[in-house]
């Protein structure tokens, strides 16, 4: 039963990451610097919403299989049963969300947005590669599917880090400012959540591969890794920045005001 609870929490963690970063990226819809890049970032947002759906659907299936005895929330709030992908996305409150803080911080400028996506998607690349060995075949299948999309996200965001970092004085200064602002949120990527118990997971290896890749790209772009090492953490356990509440207020309003409405 503990294993089951851990897997559900881990699935919700992955789903929440995808949903929240998907939502953040979708905020660029209609605001991208040029039409082609506006389309790119919204396509990436769509990929994330698709990944979130897969993880939520699987979490819902596991919850519904063992509805009794699984305490799903940290705060003891009831979760609506039977669970669905929609109830998990729209009817849990801030403290129940397990997304990493890096996914919820505001978009900032284009440098902040593309840098955050690079740092996050390279982490996902490594994490999902490990998940290919997950004992639950459906988790492995979602990872296999997602890796193909994440490959494009890494490529696209990496190109922007290089382009801005190795660009004009202004673009370089902006990309370096983005690094200074976001760096404190990268440490949380490598803190293994208590519920991430699958044997295939090795966060130290993820961190080593990530460091190697990020250092290489920063070096090529002429960007510096900050010497400050303070780590903002807690998202995976439901302790969030003030920003998540605002996202959920916007995202969940309709379902809460008009329960079960469809469109």
């Amino acid at each position: 039963m503990t294993n089951q609870k851990n897997e559900i929490d881990f699935l919700l963690h992955l789903a929440d990451n995808a949903l929240i970063i998907g939502h953040r990226n979708s905020e660029w819809c209609g605001h991208g610097p040029i039409l082609e890049q506006d389309i790119a970032i919204t396509n990436i947002a769509l990929d994330y919403i698709g990944q979130a759906r897969n993880f939520y659907q699987h979490a819902a299936e596991l919850i519904n299989r063992h509805p009794i005895g699984i305490d799903i929330t940290q705060t003891g709030n009831d979760i609506v049963l039977p669970a669905t992908e929609d109830s998990l996305a729209y009817l849990r409150d801030v403290r129940e969300f397990k997304n990493l803080l890096i996914t919820e911080i505001p978009n900032g400028d284009w440098a902040h947005t593309t840098l955050r996506l690079f740092l996050l998607s390279e982490f996902e690349m490594q994490l999902f590669t490990q998940l290919l060995q997950h004992p639950d075949a459906q988790v492995a299948a979602i990872a296999e599917k997602s890796i193909k999309e994440v490959s494009y996200h890494v490529k696209w965001s990496q190109d922007w880090v290089l382009r801005l970092g190795d660009g004009t004085d202004e673009s370089k200064q902006r990309m370096q400012a983005a690094i200074e602002a976001i760096w404190a949120y990268t440490g949380e990527l490598f803190i293994q959540p208590e519920y991430a118990t699958a044997a295939c997971l090795n966060y130290a290896a993820i961190q080593a591969a990530w460091n190697k890749k990020v250092s290489a790209v920063f070096e090529e772009a002429g960007l510096n890794i900050p010497s400050k090492t303070f780590v903002q953490k807690g998202g995976a356990e439901g302790m969030h920045t003030e920003h998540l509440g605002y996202i959920l207020a916007e995202m969940q309003y309709l379902q809460r005001a008009y329960p079960n409405s469809e469109w």
Binding site: E36, I39, A40, L46, A137, K145
Partner: protein, 162 residues
């Protein structure tokens, strides 16, 4: 058993009439998303796999498959599987020709080794020139990239390797 085979062949024929809503020249069979067809009594189970996880066309494709088979008198359920993950290698030769004729450059090369992430030479579907440039890796839908032909100056969609 023989009757069953005949019936399943007939179902595949029906599926060939169901088109991708985003690329209406391409049938779902040519797109490579039909993973299997099973028939028990009058109940058909069609197993499909999504192209992209967030592709909004997938819900529509499921609905169109159901409608086409219901019209032929079959009860239908749709089952979705994710693994093995769909790749552009599963688009049939016929499908690739249809894409080109429609003005969308078909995938270049194989998808399994990720060399597709490198810069590729994608021939223009209009004039066949290889003098083309990538405008954006993400085009009008998740599955397409946007290119421009330097020869005939036409922009075109490229069905990117996946």
């Amino acid at each position: 058993m023989v009757n069953n085979t005949i019936a399943i062949n007939a179902i595949w024929k029906i599926l060939e009439t169901v088109k991708d809503p985003e690329v209406p020249v391409l049938s779902v069979v040519d797109l490579g998303v039909i993973r299997g067809v099973a028939l028990e009594e009058q109940l058909v189970t069609v197993t499909i796999t999504p192209t992209y996880t967030g592709c909004p066309a997938m819900d529509m494709i499921s609905m169109h498959i159901k409608m086409a088979l219901n019209a032929a008198g079959y009860q239908t359920t749709i089952q979705t599987v994710l693994s093995p993950a769909w790749t552009t290698d599963w688009i049939t030769e016929n499908g690739k020709q249809q894409l080109k004729a429609y003005g969308i450059a078909p995938p270049v090369g194989k998808s399994f080794d990720q060399t597709y992430l490198a810069d590729l030479i994608v021939p223009c579907p209009q004039c066949n020139s290889t003098h083309t440039v990538l405008v954006s890796q993400f085009g009008s839908t998740a599955c397409k990239a946007l290119y421009k032909c330097e020869e005939c100056k036409e922009p075109f969609d490229y069905f990117k390797c996946h």
